[in-house]
Amino acid sequence: MVAATLAIVPAAGGGDRAGWLWGFAAVGLGATVLATVRWGGAIWWGVVALGAEYTILRVGRGPVDIAAAYVATGLFLLAELVLWSLDARSRVVEEPGATRRRATRLSVLSLGALVLGSLMVSAGRLARGAGLARTFTGVLCSVAILAIVVWIAPVRSSRPRAGS
């Protein structure tokens, strides 16, 4: 349902870009379905496709959209729910307390994502004159994230020890 909302709502208001939007919506939905039924790794393609769909809708259309915070929260929630459904399919049985705890945690994180997104949108609307600073910050964050990706690419494991 989350994936369908994220896919259909932007595509429905696409206007002249409807073809692209429906295409990305289909990819996003398809990847999500694939992730839930067969290959869990497809969820990241789904998240990226749905994010790309929303971006295509917004390219060249004025200032920061307030709905970006909701889309960000939706994408985060979608990824978490798919990962949860994959965990639930394993043979490991969760005790009732663990399920309740995970649901609470997901709610708190989603709310946090919404607050964070709203703050960023607000900040983006306010700081209009600081284009260079924003670009610098963006580059810094991108480099940092890419560094993390490079760092985690090889599996880093501590040496195993026998027994407990």
Binding site: R58, V64, L75, A79, I145
Partner: protein
């Protein structure tokens, strides 16, 4: 402990990187907003991730020796210095064991300073030696970006002894040995059981004179007795083939029968040995007492069907395993030519042989096809002919069907031996 990244780590990092780079490329802040939750959790997770330190990690086993059909409880105790968001426990369950209560694979939250106990109740429906494996523990960090795998060496053998049946009467061997026992021997000597009267001869003790007969006959007569002696019994277990018979396989039932017979013979102070005749030959020299009972059960627990096409005859059995004048009690489904041939050979060499035929006929399916029905009947007749051939050479045979009490088959063997005058009494 082994640390490895979860799928979430790579996914979050990739999504955050794609959105941030895309945001820079197209100049839209929305992409940065979408990247934010993933990037924040990623950074927070990387800074807070820490391997758990167990204060307690134990696997307790209620007991490691039990009788088939019984249940035991495994208890995992786990505690950590700091709270662990999610711990997955995979309790090692041997194959063929039923989980009666609890979960063998459980995910739980581990609070700070509060060791948890997880109990799993296992039921062992079959005899055998069941090896517990390692206890696998997987801890997830707070944001589930890293997982920490640990294992506890919990390897331990659970010995499940076969369920024995109560037997009130046994097959009495034709020959007794020299040691004192419960078996009335054929020969005469010191004993309780009356044997015969005969005229007094020089050397006879006065105490043995039967005064009533002496008074009646006018000359001294003495009373003679049969001594009580023990016997040697060798249980010959056929493990060449194994067939499902409805409630268990022929080998499972054979082991139960052998254990039941061994226990009762040993209680009668007889010497009992075991020969497991199959793809793998195992034997145990005849012996007496409770230790021998445990040795026999341990030997029976190792019984398994090892497929072999090598021809085996009784020559491969060590001579000392088959003492002279021993009763050889074969427990066999009479399916393999090698075991049947060995039984004939044993009889040919003068051993006193009895056979319990662990019948595989119980679970024959209903045949629709006339040819299959005919083949079925031929098979039944061939088995009947085989039993007749065994009886013809002086081997008492009784068919033991699935669900029947072992005592019925034992009585049948004994009755067959009495009619053939094979018993001493």
């Amino acid at each position: 402990m082994r640390r490895h990244p979860s799928p979430r780590l790579a996914g979050f990092a990739s999504v955050a990187a794609i959105f941030l780079v895309g945001g820079l490329a197209v100049g839209r802040p929305e992409l940065v907003v979408m990247a934010a939750p993933f990037a924040v959790i990623l950074v927070a997770g990387l800074f807070t991730s820490e391997a758990p330190r167990w204060t307690t990690l134990e696997l307790g086993v209620e007991r490691d020796r039990l009788v088939e059909g019984e249940a035991i409880t495994l208890e995992v105790r786990i505690g950590a210095e700091r709270a662990v968001e999610r711990v997955e426990l995979i309790v090692p369950i041997p194959g063929g064991v039923a989980v009666e209560d609890g979960d063998a694979a459980l995910a739980l939250h581990l609070p700070h300073g509060d060791p948890r106990r997880v109990a799993v109740r296992l039921r062992f429906p079959r005899w055998g030696v069941f090896e517990l494996g390692d206890l696998h523990v997987r801890a997830h960090d707070r944001f589930d970006l890293f997982r920490f795998d640990d294992r506890l060496d919990a390897r331990r053998a659970i010995r499940v002894f076969p369920r024995t049946e109560t037997l009130r009467a046994l097959v009495r061997p034709a020959h007794a040995q020299l040691s004192t026992g419960n078996q009335v021997a054929r020969r005469v000597g010191d004993g309780i059981e009356f044997a015969e009267l005969r005229p007094f001869a020089p050397g006879d003790v006065v105490r043995s004179i039967d005064w009533k007969t002496t008074a009646r006959r006018g000359s001294p007569w003495v009373r003679e007795h049969h001594p009580e002696r023990n016997t040697d019994v060798v249980l010959f277990l056929d493990s060449f083939s194994d067939v499902w018979t409805g409630s268990a396989t022929t080998v499972e039932r054979g082991v139960r029968a052998a254990a039941s017979l061994a226990r009762v013979y040993l209680e009668r102070r007889d010497r009992v040995g075991v020969v497991s005749f199959g793809g793998v030959l195992r034997w145990l020299m005849p012996g007496m007492g409770i230790r021998q009972e445990y040795r026999i059960i341990e030997a029976l627990l190792d019984t398994e069907v090892a497929v072999s096409y090598a021809w085996k005859a009784i020559e491969v059995i060590p001579t000392r395993t088959l003492p002279a004048r021993a009763l050889v009690f074969a427990v066999t489904p009479l399916l393999d030519e090698r075991s049947v041939g060995a039984i004939f050979d044993l009889r040919g060499r003068g051993f006193d042989v009895g056979v319990i035929d662990v019948s595989p006929l119980a679970t024959r399916p209903e045949r629709d096809d006339a040819v299959q029905r005919l083949a079925d009947r031929i098979w039944v007749m061939e088995r009947e002919k085989l039993r007749r051939d065994l009886r013809r050479v002086g081997i008492a045979v009784a068919e033991w069907g699935d669900g029947e009490h072992l005592q019925r088959a034992v009585w049948e063997v004994e009755a067959s031996r009495r009619s053939a005058r094979l018993v001493s009494a």
